[in-house]
Amino acid sequence: MGNPCAVIGVGQTAYKTKRLDVSMAGLLREAAQRALEDAGLDWADIDAVVIGKAPDLFEGMMMPEAYLADALGARGKPMMRVHTAGSVGGSTAIVAAGLIQSGVHDRVLTVAWEKQSESNATWALTVDSPHSTSLVVGAGGYFAPHIRAYMRRSGAPDHIGTLVAVKDRQNALKNPYAHLKIPGISREMVESTPMLWEPIRYLETCPSSDGACAMVLASESAARSAPNPPAWVQGTSMRSEPIFFAGRDNVLPQGGRDAAADVYRQAGITDPRRELDCAEVYVPFSWYEPMWLENLGFCGEGEGWKLTEAGATALDGDIPWNPSGGVLSSNPIGASGMIRFAEAALQVRGMAGEHQVDGARRALGHAYGGGAQFFALWIVGSDKP
């Protein structure tokens, strides 16, 4: 894993439907500035910048790294862009961590964002090539059949998705940055919303958000002078797999299992449910909580929904999932993965505010993207590995 790497700064914008008051550069700058303040650093202290966003067609922005160099104080410094669809926020953080772990840099700024109000994800996800041999249906249309297959395979009762939709929105009420805040959110409320892509109901999907998230990562020596407690990176892992191939498990993809096994091995974890204190996991449709519980080894296959049903993943459960409210409450697509990673860091730094999990010392950050084919995970802890 190389040299120790610490998260010493986290910055987020509030996630909102529309941030028409700022340019894209202004949006990122806001998150980056807050991360620098948390780290007690200024622009000149940063050695390199790593950014990530959703695919180019979402906002029609090609080569954002060229446009954004000034806004991120990157003139004359190494700057790169990472590109792994919806998991990009996570893999961007991992690439940035790699620059510290390799000993190349001491302080790296990493930023991910999306301005969905000026983007068109549905269009971008349904552009068709003249030689396409399969129906092209947007994100909900793509994931709904796999959720149905999970329900059939596991025998999960219909209301499990509703429980997650309620739980994550209850958590969001404690997070000042969260987009969807629905006071009094209840099962009845979720169940009264229409089916968009059956079995997915309206309130079982994520919102469209504008927002950015940034982190400052530091080497051991640089972390020593940080004003706030660091989160130490204890493991990172990425995997990918093709979207269509014979024998693919679309419900619990091999890439997800392998990435989880890899990151647990690095962190010395054999029982994630017991050894982790909380997890921020990419759940854009409520049913993906029980599915990822299984894929990430928090329980056996077919058992994930039982953990959700028993309240194990609630803020007061034994393994809280998405105390921040998760992707179901805020979804600036390109940033959503980095928000998971950053929220995991905030938890082990004891800086998560009202949604802090008491005494959290080790947390998982997770992101996935494409047709559930790109996976990025990290484990952060209050102890240096």
Partner: protein
């Protein structure tokens, strides 16, 4: 409002009006493309100026202040159907606009862009909107030297168009050639023995080239599906069903429409058959198959398809 007058009274040439030093200064500045206000003894800046302070009745001072020209909408009234003598011939707003640096607002026309006659006011027209004057090129010293006000620029449009020449490649070309003859082709992987439809000339799992062609049936089994309640131009109606279908003889499912059955009766394990478009419409495209329709056969038990979901 009568459609046209039946009597007109017009003073030849128009009356003359001496404007005096205060109004005269304001109009002269307008002609030069500047917006100014006059200060009262109490320190307020009046735009447009009055000769005497409406609060105290005293003469205003001779101190002039350049204001704006940008300002903020204080209040507005939408005109969905402009009259012939209105300053704009499309829907617009009359607005009270307070120029930056002024303590009063002036009334002017606010052009919100292109709207059909009778349109509702746009949602972005609201108190607090930032606006700027559109000056006429030729000015004569009148409030009409400002043609109208317009919102400040807050958004630009970036048209994007990319042109490609796409080549499907060898394997997919063969597939498309066969589909244009009503046949569905796949490749058998020499390592895992899977039949990959449509073929790509390789097995993604084993990373080996594939060449052995296998024809598969146009019948198959629904492995899983979604009921879509959001309209799609390719779908027959809402709700429509998109389903993963395992064609008989294939080892890879494909996503396709299912129709010819109410959405709430589609099942995992349901047997289906391709509904082809009329032969004369066939081309090298999967669209030759309009959708899949139910076959009158018993459902396949989940056990037999569970490894394909």
């Amino acid at each position: 409002m009568p459609s046209s007058p039946n009597h007109v009274l017009e003073f030849p040439g128009g009356y003359t009006r001496s404007v005096g030093p205060v109004i005269g200064r304001f109009l002269s500045e307008l002609r030069d493309g500047r917006l100014v206000g006059v200060r009262t003894a109490g320190g307020r800046v009046l735009v447009p100026p009055t000769e005497y302070d409406p609060d105290t009745g005293a003469a205003v001072t001779d101190e002039w202040v350049e204001v704006g020209p940008a300002g903020t909408v204080q209040s507005w009234s939408w005109v969905p159907n402009p009259r012939p003598d209105h300053p704009l011939d499309r829907p617009f707003a009359w607005a009270l606009i307070k120029p930056d640096g002024a303590d009063t607002a002036l009334l002017h026309a606010l052009d919100m862009g292109e709207f059909e006659a009778g349109a509702e006011p746009p949602r972005f027209l609201k108190t607090g909107l930032r606006v700027r004057p559109k000056w006429r090129a030729e000015r004569g010293g009148g409030i009409g030297d400002i043609e109208c006000f317009r919102p400040e620029v807050t958004m630009i449009n970036a048209p994007t168009r990319l042109e490609y020449t796409l080549d499907p490649g060898r394997a997919l070309s063969r597939f498309l050639e066969s589909i244009s003859q009503g046949r569905i082709l796949g490749h058998r992987c020499p390592v895992c023995d899977s039949v990959i439809v449509p073929m790509k000339g390789m097995c993604s799992r084993d990373g080996v080239p594939t060449t052995e062609e296998v024809e598969v049936a146009d019948t198959g089994t629904v492995t899983t599906f979604a009921v879509n309640n959001i309209p799609d131009p390719r779908a027959p109606e809402v709700p429509f069903v998109s389903a993963y279908i395992l064609l008989d003889g294939a080892d890879l499912t494909m996503l396709a429409l299912v129709a010819g059955i109410p959405a709430d009766q589609v099942r995992i394990g349901m047997r289906v058959k391709a509904a082809w478009r009329p032969r004369e419409e066939w081309g090298p495209t999967m669209n030759n198959i309009r959708w899949f329709e139910p076959l009158d056969e018993p459902d396949v038990p989940f056990e037999r398809i569970k490894d394909y979901v």
